[in-house]
Symmetry: C2
Subunit: 390 residues, 2 copies
């Protein structure tokens, strides 16, 4: 194990109708003026927003509603609303939605106190030193942003999707009602399942000690998500499976599955270029295509770990380590296919994929190599991976 | 999964020499006057206390030192020191030690603001409504109190060892330097390993859903602790194994391994009478004797779960479920024996065990039945269990 400092402060309120507590929860956090951020309409259509606002009004808490965060959220939304929010002077931001809404809330929380360009944190030109507290009512099990320190935003103009991590943006609370995810479409559910698995797998394939507890937690989390994923595809209203996916979304990205381990997300970096460049590509779907491609290239450098993955997650017990390692990758691909994810980039129907453009985004036009155990992920390696899943 | 609210707020500072940060950490928590609580001498002898006080003085933080918490800590210590502490007016309590010191700190933190009898919380006559914040420098991997909501104290006069849980006493931070545990004796190390396993097993054998993530986390934690336990018995200075034990101590009792599950600790309740009545018996050693006795009785009501335990923790794969379930219990007993724990009560050499006295303590003189899945733990069942391990 390696040295670390960790504080997973997010309070979880888990179960049906827990959103009814929002007024009491905000009061317990001493909130007087709350900025409510939502996406493009579903929380309005299904009545959740009205219900939540009712509970907030009951407690006589003032609020400002900000609507319209899009999927793959963009920095323009932050730029366009910052003055309005500063004028309102909230003491808290409540995100009702999934990763896009939460990440937008997180960046607004930091930019509220920052005089430089709103995208500076994502470009690692500055580090946040102060932020408004953020709370979450979660409506989709996917990004894990409800309990994470991460914030990923897209700059359409610069053609750049980029993230930063800060303890300051880890949400204060997450209200998790699995029933709110019953209406999430099969495709979005599958994208979420993939994202949860990837948050876990990226950590899992970072270097480990011989008896690494985090890897056992990761394997347990993956087995639970795979079982729940299979069930929820057959019955979208299987409460227990929706509950497993929701809680594992939070635990996949909160630091548990890399506790005492190095952190790195190379496949996420390969993907950010993709959904950044082609906005119709969902992040989870991009990961579903890229992870197997990444794995088939990198398996040569870590057969033991891929073999362990196959045995402990997929119960694949081929005595030949190499064959077993490859079988684990194959079973992952088949699972993604089963839940409705693509296997090749061409399935996205976005025309010819601009591999050079993807590599330039990944490597900042050839100036940067992505850190990766054993073999750095440079432009050359990225080209092999992208080409292998065209 | 069941509904729950959970906030695991404790910040972990993990690694060699992390105690050097104590001054900065206390400053970051806005501490001006700290009450330092320690045990009966080891932190003085090994220089840790001097080092920590030096760091606190460097930051010009005022402190009061309170020494002499004994193992199986007693309420008299709290009673005797409460006025002195109230006069000092600390804004923070720092516990340097293990479960006994931490639990004493927790009770003092609550009693500081409470006018009733200091033992009221443990007797469930009152609930804490306010507490001083508590921080920990951990010196033994065992009780998990450094990250838990629990506080167990002994009343010698009433002959009662009793605990309560409150979010108010979950420590603000835990500084965990595995090297500080190199000097813990093999026997105390083994008691700690047993306690960590028991915190996990008690939760594991509470009812589960079909695809229960917490059970997978528990199994992973147990496998890691068993491996680390075997290694550390051979080499007390095996850093990685000491690190695993320390971190698993914290995660075994912080709520992770029962996240989304019912909570209950029947074997701990069977044990509290034992080490409460016979003060030379270490809590962990008592558990090592009682858990197998409990398991051999209760296995008849939950063969499937005991079979799962044997397969997933001990890799025992007997196709006969009942035999495999029993094999899992046997392997646990053998492991306890291997690390130096007793198997029978007579090994404690405390004379004839007063079974009636133990039952009276457990059942509050026949007025109470301990909650237990499937079959309640009443005096009759307790008698069978105690008698079976004489």
């Amino acid at each position: 194990m390696i040295d670390f400092n960790l504080s997973i402060k997010t309070k979880i309120y888990f179960g049906p109708d827990k959103e009814d507590l929002i007024g009491d929860i905000l009061r317990s956090e001493n909130v007087n003026r709350v900025l409510i951020i939502v996406g493009e309409g579903s929380v309005k259509k299904n009545g959740l927003l009205t219900k939540v606002i009712g509970k907030i009004e009951e407690k006589k808490i003032d609020y400002l509603l900000l609507e319209g965060v899009r999927p793959n959220p963009n920095i323009e939304f932050v730029r366009d609303n910052l003055i309005k929010i500063r004028n309102y002077k909230p003491d808290f931001i409540l995100a009702i939605g999934g990763g896009s809404v939460i990440d937008t809330a997180k960046l607004l929380a930091c930019d509220y106190y920052y005089d430089g360009d709103p995208f500076d944190f994502n470009l690692h030109k500055a580090k946040p030193t102060k932020a408004l507290p953020v709370g979450v009512i979660l409506t989709i099990s996917a990004a894990g942003s409800e309990m994470s320190t991460s914030c990923v935003i897209q700059d359409d103009v610069k053609g750049k999707k980029a993230g930063f991590n800060s303890d300051l943006v880890r949400p204060v609370f997450a209200i998790e009602n699995p029933k709110l995810t019953y209406s999430v479409s099969p495709y979005q559910t599958a994208c979420g399942i993939t994202d949860i698995m990837m948050h876990t797998l990226e950590r899992y394939f970072q270097p480990s000690s011989e008896n690494e507890p985090a890897d056992g937690f990761a394997e347990a989390l993956l087995r639970s998500v795979i079982k729940a994923g299979q069930k929820v595809m057959k019955n979208p209203e299987d409460y227990d499976s929706r509950a497993v996916l929701m809680l594992m979304s939070s635990l996949s990205h909160n630091g548990l599955t890399n506790i005492g381990k190095p952190f790195g997300m190379p496949v996420h970096q390969l993907e950010h270029g993709l959904s950044g460049m082609y906005k119709t590509i969902a992040h989870g779907a991009g990961l579903a295509v890229l992870w197997p491609a990444w794995a088939k290239y990198y398996v040569q450098f870590d057969v033991d770990k891929f073999d362990q993955y196959a045995r402990n997650v997929w119960n694949s017990q081929n005595p030949d380590k190499k064959e077993n390692a490859l079988q684990g990758i194959k079973l992952t691909e088949e699972f993604f296919r089963y839940i409705g994810m693509p296997s090749r980039l061409m399935e996205f129907k976005v025309g010819a994929i601009d591999i050079d453009g993807l590599i330039n985004r990944l490597t900042d036009n050839g100036t940067r190599v992505v850190a990766h155990p054993v073999k750095p992920l440079d432009g050359e390696v990225a080209r092999i991976i992208y080409n292998s899943c065209l």
